[in-house]
């Protein structure tokens, strides 16, 4: 790893990230973020979610634009297929989190990326959600992520990028480890 001027540019501001790590080490309150989404039922299994604000670094923030994501279920579920299914959106969350991590770790390790492509598959036995067999879980029985990466690095260095990205990924953690969920009704 070189500490001199690097020509590697993956478009990630690693200096800012490292600066934040240093600043937040002794300011645990500022490190406390709250992420939000709101979701409104449209019709049938179709809903539209909105993401516009979050809290962090001790204050409220607005995204530059309000993002919306439509979710629905496919026609084999007798739905209208007006959006990706929620479980597919979970795969998107995992893929984009890991991919962002790969870019950041690569920048930090002075590795120039040329292309990074992930394909994801989540297996699921729908006997679970249909209540047919109580021994079958509702969620994925496993997720397989396959990366094709072209970069100025050895195969082991690329594997290490992908491994480190999993280690630091929020969504990977959300999926691999249990999380307490509180659902309230107003």
């Amino acid at each position: 790893m070189s500490t001199s001027e690097s020509t590697v540019d993956n478009g990630v501001n690693v200096k800012a990230l490292l600066g934040a790590r240093e600043a937040l080490t002794d300011a645990p309150d500022a490190a406390q973020f709250t992420w939000r989404a709101s979701c409104e039922w449209k019709n049938g299994t179709h809903s539209a979610s909105t993401i516009d604000s979050y809290f962090g670094l001790g204050e409220e923030h607005q995204h530059k634009t309000t993002f919306t994501i439509d979710a629905d279920h496919p026609e084999v579920f007798a739905s209208e297929d007006l959006g990706a299914s929620p479980v597919e959106i979970v795969l998107v969350g995992l893929a984009s989190c890991l991919t962002a991590g790969i870019a950041a770790v690569a920048q930090h390790r002075d590795i120039q990326l040329r292309s990074v492509k992930a394909t994801l598959e989540g297996g699921m036995n729908i006997q679970g959600i249909l209540g047919i067999d109580a021994d079958v879980r509702n969620g994925f029985d496993g997720i397989k992520v396959t990366y094709d990466i072209d970069a100025d690095a050895t195969p082991d260095e690329i594997k290490a990028l992908v491994a480190q990205s999993q280690k630091r990924s929020a969504v990977y953690d959300v999926i691999t480890n249990p999380t307490n969920i509180t659902v309230e009704v107003n």
């Binding site: 790893m1 002794d26 645990p28 029985d141 496993g142 082991d156 594997k159 290490a160 491994a163 480190q164 999993q166 280690k167 990977y172 999926i175 691999t176 480890n177 249990p178």
Partner: protein, 413 residues
């Protein structure tokens, strides 16, 4: 009966680190005392398991003014030999050790420090904390939610498998302690499952030499705390998966699964009687395999660059860690399969007696290479204190030399 005595330096802890410092202070004619709550090498005598052996070969216990003089330099000391080695060192250097003296409080004074013990008080200008990095076994908070019928044991309480009920044992943690105890307990006929988080895989032997020989010769053990990328991470790294045994076998996860031990992910939660495990096992093992590969690459490059290739066997690489296709993510502890949980989840120092504001928000002593942020106070024996070898017996000498130099300058200043 209350004593109130003055001395230039108080060293707390009569293990190898405190003794190495004592030797260096004596060499500088700095009057000092070594306070030891029990006897010399107390932790080795009272808080470690029966079968424990040093992870480092005999030749590697090089203390200032002392070293291995036996006929088995490549062997690994058992506990009685380790205790004997440290006790002989204390005698050889005539260390001024006050045994059976428990420090109950250390306070800052105008002139330095007041050290309160159950044998009276000491006043000193400078002091050295050498009370060890591994006084208290870490147990995660979720242990409180484990069903009451499951016995829970820490490595400081563990002596041998006979203290366990018959039946399954879950060992949580796969660093040196977890891996060693998993092997020993499984061999006693109690089926073991190991919950595996981050770990550091290394071979015991590489190219016909001990891994410690390579790391020592290639200068890795001498890497300094102010010269590596991320010292905080290096200080948190789990211990190398190593064991010192006569057969010199590796103690990696493949060796554990080879005798029938099951691997599961890091324990992540308790939900009623059900233990939940992370789905990260495969990545934890991939990280460890890749890290080992990088270490072996470094060693091979060093061997080539230093014309060592001719003296040793050819380079080799080891099989990746094998993981079952679908490691379980849950285990019902009410099911009767597991009778005992052994928490091999690391250790931490005990500073309950240190009433000086030198702690970070995680309760660790703030220091710069052992120079604590309170004038005239020094720290010894912690992981990567000044060098990669700082926590080893072999690392105490260089650290004691450096820090006693700083301490002497402080006294002169």
């Amino acid at each position: 009966m209350v004593f109130d005595r003055r001395v230039t330096t108080v060293v707390i802890g009569g293990g190898h680190a405190g003794l190495a410092m004592s030797h260096c202070l004596t060499g500088r004619s700095i009057d000092h005392v070594v306070l030891e709550r029990g006897e010399v090498a107390n932790t080795w005598k009272t808080e470690r398991w029966d079968s424990l052996r040093l992870l480092t070969p005999n030749w590697q216990s090089r203390l200032p003014g002392f070293g291995y003089d036996g006929d088995d330099p490549d062997g690994f000391r058992k506990m009685p030999e380790t205790i004997d080695f440290i006790c002989r060192y204390a005698e050889a250097i005539s260390a001024p050790v006050e045994t059976h003296t428990t420090v109950t409080s250390v306070r800052r004074t105008d002139a330095g420090y007041q050290v309160v013990t159950d044998q009276g008080d000491w006043h000193c200008r400078t002091m050295v904390l050498a009370s060890g990095a591994s006084n208290i076994a870490n147990v995660p908070a979720l242990a409180a939610a484990v069903p009451a019928h499951i016995a829970q044991v820490t490595p400081t309480e563990y002596r041998n498998p006979d203290q366990f009920a018959d039946g399954g044992v879950m060992v949580v943690g796969a660093a040196a302690t977890g891996a060693q105890l998993a092997q020993e307990i499984h061999r006693s006929g109690r089926p073991v499952t190991v919950s595996v988080g981050e770990h550091v895989r290394v071979p015991r032997n590489y190219r016909g030499r001990d891994i410690q020989w390579w790391m020592d010769r290639a200068g890795l053990m001498d890497e300094r705390y102010d010269e590596i990328d991320d010292i905080n991470r290096a200080r948190r790294l789990p211990s190398l998966q190593l064991t010192g045994s006569d057969d010199r076998n590796a103690l990696d996860l493949n060796s554990l699964t080879g005798i029938g031990i099951k691997l599961i992910g890091r324990i992540a939660g308790m939900n009623d009687s059900k233990a939940q495990f992370s789905g990260s096992l495969r990545n934890m093992c991939a990280l460890a395999d890749l890290k080992m590969g990088r270490l072996l690459d470094t060693i091979d490059e060093w061997a080539s660059a230093n014309d060592v290739d001719g003296e040793v066997e050819p380079a080799e690489r080891f099989a990746p860690t094998e993981i079952a296709d679908d490691p379980p993510l849950g285990l019902d502890l009410a099911g009767g399969e597991i009778k005992t949980i052994l928490w091999a989840t690391g250790f931490r120092p005990d500073y309950s007696w240190l009433d000086v504001p030198v702690f970070d928000r995680k309760g660790r002593v703030r220091h710069d290479g052992g120079i604590v942020g309170s004038p005239g106070m020094y720290l010894m024996g912690m992981q990567f204190l000044r060098r990669r070898k700082s926590s080893l017996i072999d690392g105490a000498g260089d650290d004691a030399r450096d820090l006693s130099t700083h301490l002497a300058a402080h006294l002169d200043g």
